[in-house]
């Protein structure tokens, strides 16, 4: 799905991401782990076009997307969530989600001024998409609640729903379980599995090792911007370099 070749990003003298080659495989959960500051989020920012890489290439289904803007990458089907989700707190959850499908619509100023039928149709489609996405993440009963009222875990789910309403092929999740309690983490993990079951490809950054180890099909480990290991959860758990850099000994044997 996504192929990353020798990707590097330097901020001044600091190599935040250094010569990383990997792939985000279709229909799988591709996890990225590593200590704080290892370059995980920067890696996502490079894929989604927020930062331009210093060198290297990013291929989406064979097409070079390295130099595209974020909105162009999103239109090609790469969606993402952020560590903190900025919602408009004074509006309802549903209202927050309707704009998520905007990128698949074409109505412009003229449609608005004349009140075209295309605009009406597209507004209906966007609303339906928002409802579907909310349904998918299990929050349809929250549609009319104020976004400022909902819990941290529900916020994370709304963020998923926003990402899903763009009709993506790949969803990049940046610490979806951050600030969420263990029970809820299990629920979010189930939701991620459900996304894959529905044909999505997932890229996942997370610090919760239990979640990663049970969820991921494939793990890449970053440290100081470099890829130090890649493989199945079992391989990663047994890898001495990973234990040394990140996991510590308590995860080594399990």
């Amino acid at each position: 799905m996504l192929k990353i070749e020798n990707l590097s990003k330097r901020f001044g003298g600091l190599a935040a991401v250094n010569e990383v080659s990997t792939s985000i495989e279709k229909g799988k959960i591709n996890a990225i782990i590593g200590p704080n500051g290892a370059g995980k989020t920067t890696f996502f920012n490079l894929i989604s076009g927020v930062h331009k890489p210093t060198s290297g290439r990013i291929l989406l289904d064979g097409t070079d997307v390295t130099h595209l803007r974020t909105d162009e990458v999103a239109k090609l089907g790469v969606s993402r969530t952020f560590q903190t989700t900025a919602l408009f707190d004074n509006a309802s959850v549903l209202d927050n989600l309707i704009v998520g499908h905007r990128l698949r619509t074409r109505s412009g100023l003229w449609d608005v001024l004349v009140g075209s039928s295309r605009l009406k149709h597209e507004e209906k489609v966007c609303r339906e998409k928002a409802r579907d996405a909310l349904d998918f993440v299990g929050l349809s009963h929250m549609a009319n609640r104020m976004a400022g009222d909902i819990s941290q875990e529900e916020r994370k789910r709304v963020a998923f729903a926003l990402a899903l309403s763009t009709d993506p092929k790949v969803v990049l999740l940046d610490e979806p379980a951050g600030g969420v309690n263990p029970d809820e983490t299990v629920g979010l993990a189930e939701l991620i599995r459900k996304m894959v079951k529905h044909g999505l490809t997932v890229g996942l950054i997370e610090h919760k090792m239990n979640m990663i180890m049970s969820l991921a099909d494939k793990i890449m480990v970053l440290n100081y911007g470099e890829k130090i290991a890649e493989g199945t959860p079992a391989e990663i758990r047994a890898n001495p370099a990973v234990i040394d850099a990140y996991l510590g000994s308590e995860h080594a044997d399990a």
Partner: protein, 341 residues
């Protein structure tokens, strides 16, 4: 209260505007009100870029003055008929706004505001210093009154009042259309977080520029009306204090709403009129008033009302959801509640 919202509320407001000249019977009041409408129209524009799109533009009065000077210069120095000059006031303002917006919108947040503050001041200086074109500090005198069909001339306060009022109604209607559409949602997504909006596939540069151009188009038209209404122009119109006045209207009424800026722009001049006896000391009243408002009513009058309504709808939804959803949620609810705190 419910009856006063939505379509009925707006209809009542329009009716109130229509009967106002018959109620007051005082030309001075009509003039105050007409001026307020003109600034309300410009404030609606400012509210689009600042209130709905989240880009705090401080050059707005510069654009309003630009529109006014287009009408002033074309009608007085080139004998162009008023309405042609008026149409050009919006168009030329938007055309000038295109490169200015393109450059300044590359900046974010406070940088954008500081940059546009400078842009606005430069516009003021150009108007003041370019004497051969703008008549400098002397100003433009003798702008012809707008003409109607069949030789009718809008030179009576009541006729002018209705003319200005008509533009405000149309302007508010179009603005309402824009902000409640997908396009408006796009702008609001940018206000909310441009990082998130961009990741949802929204082209930031294009949408911000569109909002900016619409905003200055409103300013230009308001300026054009101002020229035809006051029939005298000085560089003072471009002064940044007008931008800050319009910002105050927005804040008091409710930024990011349609009714809010209208209420602010119409209400504040009246308050100001009633405090005329205090002369310069009026600001001793206004200053603390605005500080109190920003602290205690940060969403403005209309914004607070809407927030209150949204809160009530949310609680209603919560009550409804609680009944059927009680069973599945029950197992995790007690724990969940504690950890969210």
């Amino acid at each position: 209260m419910k009856y006063l919202e939505g379509r009925i509320g707006w209809t009542l407001l329009v009716l109130a505007g229509l009967v106002f000249p018959f109620v007051t019977g005082n030309d001075y009041h009509l003039t105050v009100m007409s001026t307020a409408y003109i600034f309300a129209l410009a404030t609606l524009g400012l509210n689009l870029i600042t209130g709905y799109t989240g880009q705090f533009n401080l050059a707005h009065s510069g654009f309003m003055a630009l529109g006014a000077y287009v009408v002033g210069i074309l009608t007085v120095d080139h004998q162009v008929p008023f309405w042609i000059a008026f149409a050009l006031s919006g168009v030329i303002t938007a055309l000038v706004g295109l490169p200015l917006g393109f450059v300044s919108l590359r900046l974010k947040g406070h940088y954008f505001s500081i940059f546009t503050l400078c842009v606005g001041y430069i516009m003021f200086l150009v108007i003041e210093k370019w004497e051969s074109l703008t008549h400098g500090t002397v100003g433009i005198i003798g702008i012809p009154a707008p003409t109607g069909f069949g030789g009718y001339v809008f030179d009576q306060p009541r006729a002018l009042y209705y003319l200005v009022f008509a533009f405000l109604v149309v302007g508010a209607f179009v603005m309402h259309r824009i902000v409640t559409s997908l396009l408006g949602r796009t702008f609001m997504a940018i206000r909310n977080s441009d990082e998130l909006a961009e990741s949802l596939g929204i082209n930031l540069a294009r949408n911000k520029l569109l909002s900016f151009l619409l905003s200055v188009f409103y300013a230009g038209l308001a300026g054009g009306l101002y020229a035809g209404f006051v029939r005298f122009l000085g560089p003072d119109l471009a002064g940044t204090h007008h931008t800050f006045e319009m910002t105050t209207f927005m804040l008091i009424g409710g930024i990011g709403t349609i009714l809010g800026p209208l209420l602010g722009a119409i209400g504040m001049p009246w308050l100001s009129q009633h405090l005329q006896f205090l002369q310069e000391y009026r600001y001793v009243v206004f200053g603390p008033l605005i500080i109190l408002l920003v602290i205690f009513v940060p969403n403005g009058i209309v914004g607070s009302h809407l927030a209150w309504k949204a809160r009530r709808a949310s609680n209603e939804a919560k009550k409804q959801a609680a009944a059927p959803a009680a069973q599945p949620v029950n197992t995790t609810a007690p724990q969940g509640g504690a950890t969210h705190a």
